[in-house]
């Protein structure tokens, strides 16, 4: 056997070519945009309908998510029980989710059962019954989960962060409170559904092994309600961040504190965003990041620490996220600011930048692996009115960005005095 030098890393190749899958764009049900991502070997289909019906479209922040969740609680012809029995019988899943911007329903089905699962899926989207009995049970269940979440320091800090950074009254900053649950009725849900779960207010993405038969099935049998003369708009609102920088939510019996340090930030539609993603990756965006290396791997303050630059449709935000032993709360905050300041004061070293770039390219490759991942990648641009050119721009910037440029971004966006600091737990 040949002797090998274990101290020397094998040669490696840079990722230079990534096949970015472009969807085929069709129209169904007269004018609904349909994006088709056909790939994969397994006989599976993922059909996602996205409505402009997130919580920013509703007066109470709870109406959007409850309307969405109630889709699975029975239709005009099928009870909640019958509906779930039928969907389960075909081995299908329906996932429902609403965030601040969008509400979506996703069907996972075996290709061989698609005709039948599609029928059930369109029924639940178009004809929900919003029955009182099911609504009350769903609300009770949500109240219980709410109360459990309220005992978690990470929930307390995340909610406070939203309020502080966007403003308590802003549609991105307001949080669901316990009284909201008692004020919901099925008429509100019905009105919200009629207004927004509408064919001129949605897009459809299908991915997986998409055969001609599946497309034919969609062309012939897919439909979304067409209520006329309804308003699907919302009013763009300026954010009003808190005037106070430091916020503390006490939980006296906590053995760990949850810390968030962050601020409002530009989103994906801004030219600096991709550079900021690179900057963020260095700081706290991967396992080898500076925050992880310092707070976890050097000091052992925490099980995990990271940072994000996130994009909502109208604004973005930046925050670090961690839970640390209560005794370490102050030291952890000091170290987080130290790492932020270091990005402002010193250009990142070339070795570190090389590693971050290659990691991000590998991550980019993973984000297109498999048909369902491609559907998610597609939405990550389409939701912001961008297309695959954004991915090309991303690759270009990741490959060419310099330490100087990264430092400029840190100077411009990460000044510690501009940050909001939220601690939930115990000092």
């Amino acid at each position: 056997m040949e002797t090998i030098n274990r101290s020397k890393a094998p040669d490696y190749k840079l990722i230079d070519k990534i096949n970015i899958s472009k969807p085929e764009i069709l129209k169904i049900n007269n004018n609904i945009p349909l994006f088709v991502l056909n790939s994969g070997t397994e006989d599976v289909v993922r059909l996602e309908i996205v409505f402009n019906a997130g919580s920013k479209y509703s007066e109470s922040p709870l109406i959007s998510s409850v309307t969405n969740a109630m889709l699975y609680e029975g239709t005009k012809t099928l009870s909640s029980k019958e509906l779930s029995e039928k969907i389960d019988f075909f081995g299908a899943y329906v996932m429902l989710n609403a965030d601040r911007d969008y509400a979506q329903a996703t069907l996972y089905s075996l290709g061989k059962h698609f005709a039948k699962t599609l029928e059930l899926f369109t029924d639940l989207i178009n004809n929900p019954s919003f029955a009182e009995h099911e609504l009350n049970i769903l609300l009770e269940n949500k109240v219980q989960k709410y109360k459990i979440d309220e005992q978690k320091v990470k929930t307390l800090s995340a909610k406070k962060f939203n309020e502080v950074v966007f403003g308590k009254k802003h549609y991105y900053g307001r949080n669901i409170q316990l009284p909201h649950f008692g004020l919901i009725n099925s008429q509100q849900l019905n009105d919200f559904h009629t207004r927004l779960y509408n064919k001129n207010n949605c897009k459809v993405i299908i991915s997986g092994k998409i055969t001609d038969n599946i497309l034919k099935e969609l062309q012939n049998n897919f439909m979304i309600n067409d209520f006329e003369n309804v308003s699907n708009s919302y009013v763009l609102q300026n954010i009003s961040p808190s005037t106070q920088k430091k916020h503390f939510v006490e939980k006296a019996d906590a053995v760990q504190s949850s810390i968030r340090i962050g601020k409002p930030m530009v989103n994906k539609n801004h030219d600096d965003f991709i550079g900021l993603q690179i900057l963020n990756t260095i700081l706290g965006g991967y396992f080898g990041s500076r925050l992880m290396s310092n707070l976890r791997e050097d000091k052992g303050y925490t099980y995990g620490v990271g940072s994000v630059v996130a994009s909502l449709v109208d604004y973005g935000f930046f925050t670090t996220v961690c839970e640390v032993g209560s005794d370490y709360t102050k030291s952890a905050i000091t170290e987080i600011y130290k790492e932020i300041q270091r990005l402002i004061d010193e250009p990142v070293g070339l070795d570190e930048l090389e590693r971050v770039k290659n990691y991000m390219l590998g991550d980019f490759l993973r984000s297109f692996d498999g048909p369902f991942a491609q559907a998610e990648a597609f939405r990550s641009v389409n939701d912001f009115n961008l297309d695959e050119k954004y991915f090309e721009k991303f690759l270009e910037i990741v490959k060419t960005i310099t330490p100087n440029k990264i430092q400029q971004l840190a100077v411009k966006y990460l000044q510690p005095h501009s940050m909001y600091e939220i601690v939930a737990g115990k000092y």
Binding site: K81, Q256, N358, Y359
Partner: protein, 412 residues
């Protein structure tokens, strides 16, 4: 059908290759046949602590993560009561980096004091974050020792007590490594855009000269049959009462295992299940009820867990659960059985879209004795009859086999 090739190196390392050319990636999964069940009573949490130490540098490579990130890779690991599993994905043409990194840490770790000291702290924070600082977070720390009196399943992977972790010495860590981390106690699966011939060459080159080791083969004490209902009442500052009922169920390779797996789905997996329909939708005694199995290699547990609605006593809640089970025994139908089997089959198909899932499953089945179970296990599920389901309910879901944890809400 998931096809694969299989070979074994002279030192005992088992290697499985699954080719999938639809992905530009390759997944490498290494399973070590050591979990919390291999630990001794006074040194629990070691297998899991070890998982952390495996990222603290190996004998010839000071950092595991940095070189992997440099070639576009990503990795993680998990520890269960039965095994420790390491997995990574990277661009297929950089596959050799994975072999270089994984073989060096199988050869030996760096065993630095700094790494041990830091990871003791990190695991302590993990213990706090996951078990102490969450509502209901300590359920498994209490339920396991109630259900198991002899078998090491009586402690969670994090360990019985944090002192076992904070007191870990370097010598103990080294002993643990050389007793369990060895080519002859590991299974490597390479899945993705690869050729078996190439994997053979790389496996020989990087793993071939790692010596096999004497694996510590302590007999794991098996749990005797339980013949009395065990009860424990906990009082905690949580928003609502909750109940946990744990029934003993057979080991993974037992013929009845699949029956209990299906029963758990029938009773409590999703909205169409018995518990949800009867106890949440109809009688409104619970906010939610679920039923699932622990999936253990040795004698496992079928767990029923429910959040009890306000004003409902533990006694009423418990009786209602047993009523549903009794009713279920009388009238379980072909249709509902078929529904659950269809769902299980479909769920498998969805999970095999991901090359890493396939790699992790292949390694687990090979540990059980045959990687091809990945293809054949579901066929056994499809053959299950209503009569078998009924006889298993009678045999296993008896109250004298149950350990019942009442988790009572009190306000501090």
């Amino acid at each position: 059908m998931i096809e694969f090739d299989k070979f074994t190196l002279d030192n005992g390392l088992q290697v499985i290759v699954h080719k999938d050319i639809t992905t530009p990636l390759v997944a490498v999964n290494i399973l070590y046949k050591v979990g919390a069940r291999n630990e001794s009573l006074d040194r629990t949490g070691f297998a899991h602590l070890f998982e952390h130490l495996m990222f603290g540098g190996s004998v010839n490579i000071p950092s595991y993560d940095e070189p992997l990130q440099l070639v576009g890779g990503e990795n993680n690991a998990f520890t269960t009561n039965d095994l420790t599993n390491y997995h990574l994905t990277l661009p297929a043409n950089n596959i050799e980096t994975a072999f270089w990194l994984e073989s060096d840490r199988m050869l030996s770790l760096a065993f630095t004091e700094k790494s041990l000291e830091v990871q003791r702290n990190v695991v302590t924070e993990e213990f706090r974050q996951r078990y102490l600082n969450q509502p209901y977070g300590d359920v498994w720390l209490e339920l396991r020792p109630l259900a198991y009196k002899v078998h090491p399943y009586q402690w969670a992977t994090i360990g019985k007590s944090i002192e076992h972790i904070t007191g870990a010495t370097m010598q103990e860590v080294k002993d643990f490594f050389f007793s369990y981390y060895a080519p002859n106690n590991a299974i490597m699966v390479v899945a993705g855009n690869v050729e078996t011939e190439n994997v053979k060459l790389l496996a020989d080159k990087w793993f071939g000269n790692i010596p096999n080791r004497n694996i510590l083969n302590n007999v794991i004490p098996q749990e005797p049959e339980q013949n009395e209902t065990r009860r424990l009442l906990l009082e905690r500052d949580v928003p609502m009462d909750a109940i946990y009922i744990a029934f003993k169920m057979p080991e993974k390779l037992h013929n009845d295992y699949k029956l209990l797996d299906i029963i758990s789905d029938l009773l409590g997996n999703g909205k169409s299940s018995r518990f949800f329909q009867k106890l949440v939708m109809e009688s409104k005694l619970f906010g939610d009820v679920e039923c699932y199995i622990t999936g253990s290699v040795d004698v496992g547990l079928l767990i029923i867990e429910g959040r009890i609605n306000e004003g409902v006593s533990f006694e009423v809640a418990e009786n209602a659960i047993f009523e549903v089970i009794n009713d279920f025994l009388l009238n379980v139908s072909e249709t509902e059985l078929q529904r659950v089997i269809n769902k299980a089959e479909a769920t498998l198909t969805y999970s095999y879209i991901d090359v890493l899932n396939k790699a992790t499953s292949l390694a687990f089945y090979e540990m059980l004795g045959d990687a091809n179970l990945i293809n054949t296990e579901i066929i056994e599920y499809q053959k299950v009859t209503v009569a078998e389901i009924k006889s298993s309910i009678t045999k296993y879901l008896k109250i004298e086999h149950a350990s019942i944890l009442q988790y009572k809400s009190i306000k501090n």
